[in-house]
Amino acid sequence: MKRKKRIIGIVAVLLCIASLYLVQKLLMPKYSADIFEGALIEDYYNETTEHQVVFIGDCEVYENFSPITLWEEYGITSYIRGSAQQLIWQSYYLMEETLSYEKPDVIVFNVLSMQYGEPQNEAYNRMTLDGMKWSGSKIKSIFDSMTEEESFVEYLFPLFRYHSRWSELTADDVTYMFSKKRMFHSGYLMRVDKKAAGSVPEGKILDNYQFDDSCYEYLDKMVALCEEQDVQLVFIKAPSLYPYWYDEWEAQIESYAKEKGVPYVNYLEEIEEIGLDFSQDTYDGGLHLNLSGAEKLTRYFGNWLKENYDLTDYRENEELAKIWSEKKDFYDEMKEDQYRELDEFGYLKSYGAREVTNED
């Protein structure tokens, strides 16, 4: 009798744990209908091969660079580990995590996040951190990123954070319980629509233009980590017109890069050379580039990479060619779908998101 009770007890506990896991999976946001960028970080783990170039940073990388173009034009394999309002320490820990999976030749870091010296916003934290697999890097990133209202327990058990989503569940929450909707192109979030940039106002006057010490601390860590791993680190400032990039910020980055011997390119100063036309190449008035803009920037950047680094052209590699050809097909299909949606509705209704999961 006692034995029977014990078995029932054990089975009950196991069932309880299993159901908690399933409920957690069900209630976690799927980012399948909007705010797609919430699923970007997790998408990286579907990659089956290593990359020569890895981009790390905020929306200025995942909206502005197209790894498919980099492959097509230069045979360079690349991936963007980008997420919305990615803070510099999050970038560092993503870099650390990425280097535990692969060893790229070049890591490109977009420096816009130097402006934030403190945790900013729980929703953005979640978009970067929830998708990461559990590791020391993730734990450190969580502790450094948490705002006052956040708790580590809610990262450990996201069910405690998302429990109240029960009243807003949709069919997508069931469909994408175990595998997210396929939306990205090696970390690039495609947008083909256009919204021309108007006149760019001067940035508002700040009390202090000096980057926070903690940002420099993480920049130092990035430099040290890349040196240790023998990876070439490159700093960039993507050519987004907003948020405003101050001259004072530029001077600090230039000086730091020079001091550390890290190449730095500010693409805001090379808009003409890239061929960007902000009446055509942005979908939100200059904050982010659309597909046409991203492809132009990527071509320009790929050329710079080729000129400066000895990166192998893998287009002749059968295995990689097959993988990237499949990626290209998906890229083209989405492009086509988005143009069709634009024609049909006048706006991007589903962003060309096909009902396929990463496992399909």
Binding site: I8, A12, V153, E154, F160, H163
Partner: protein, 530 residues
Amino acid sequence: MLFTSYNFILFLVIVFILYYCIPKKFRWILLLFASYFFYAQAGVELLLFLLSTTVSTYIVSLQLLRLSGTQKAYIAKNKTVLNKEAKKAYKSKIKKKQWKWLLACLFFNFGVLAIFKYTNFTIANINSLITAFGGTKQLNFLNLVLPMGISFYMFQTMGYLIDVYRGTVQAERNIGKLALFVSFFPQLVQGPISRYNDLSRTLFEKQAFNSSNVWFGLQRILWGYLKKMVIADRILPAVNTIINAPEDYQGAYVLAGMIFYAIELYADFTGGIDIVIGIGQIFGIEMTENFNRPYFSKNITEYWRRWHITMGTWFKDYLFYPISICKPMRKLSKWSRNHLGEAVGRKLPVYISTLVVWFVTGLWHGASWNFITWGVFNGVIILLSGECAPLYQWFHKRFRVENKIWYSAFQILRTFLLMSSLRLFDCYRDVKTAFSMFGTLFTKWNYEVFFNGSMLELGISTADYMVLLLGVLLLLLVSLRQRKGSVRQQMAEKPITVNLLAVYLLFMAIIILGAYGIGYDASQFIYNQF
């Protein structure tokens, strides 16, 4: 450390594991350390208050014990030479000394409570008086933070001291044990206000692990969390919306607010006590019940016998009876019997004691005229309902309604609405607003708001209302089952799978439907503030 915080859950799990891992004789010591650790989370400096109450009570209780011992020894030694009068005179002399010790300790401890709880209230009243008499000078308020749970542990400890003085409790010689009685962490912040004889029976006992106790305790804790997190905290935004904007929410909204607050207060306070008693139970410690299905009361007197029972009995034993039988009251009673008649002479002490008790009860709940008015109104209604008792009896007999279900339901509803109306003083910012809002129940005829979607604009959604409805139905169902005894006991008689399923559903309901985490305000238990 809120009971609903992750830190508290972690703390509880660690204490629980350690408790059953260490030798039995050290378990009460672990609870003492845990209690002080728990209290220190609110501020290490606050431990001074806890310590001062414990040490002063310990010293005085030992003095009382010593004096009792001296008295016994003296009488035993001089048994043959002391006549009855001499013994009486000696006892009276000792009692006087004990009384002085008791009084000193009561003054010291209640003085601390009064300073922290009532100084700014007194200053506010003095300022109002100065203004009323045309003065311009105003006293500055003091920056005093009320130590957590002081009203509860102070009453519990002073009750213990009075019992020692009365000789109904043997003074505790081990200061550690007394310290644990004062500070036992589950009950420290919102009661129940335990009696030493009740709590000490199991608190210091060498507890062995008892799976049945742990299982029952766990069920009670979960039930408490369900009440607090799924019901009380979910309805809170609607209550706040209504009471914080009396200029916008009147009439039907006041009625809704009364009902919502009744639900919130019940779920919050009884939920908190369920958690407290459940925690005690998993450690093998029995605590006094504080509620007995109060919303099923048929009159206000019965309600107060069933709501916050330990506070009610504390006031009855340590305030009502002493006032009723004190010398001045006996004199007043005698005088009024002679001059105003037998009935008045008999009732006057009861009336005065009742009003004093309810004035103090109001004051205990909070340093504001709202609570004092609330308390006095309770007292007055209790007295009035006592006066009307013969009329009710006549009515019941004449119309033969006493045992009719519909009449019982009417009495329950009447009491519920009466108590809910009185709680308006608890809700609104001042007495005037409370009266004014009560008036709008009859003057502002906007009851269509119950049907035109306005109730969805109070900060809670349709989904919230659905959860609340289910939650309240569950409370009702459980309360009805409780008429047949402990629901957990009834459940235990069912197959183990039914029990497991019930606990699982309870657990999942809290996890999924609980109003906690980001997006919800971390809400303190209402009675923590007292």
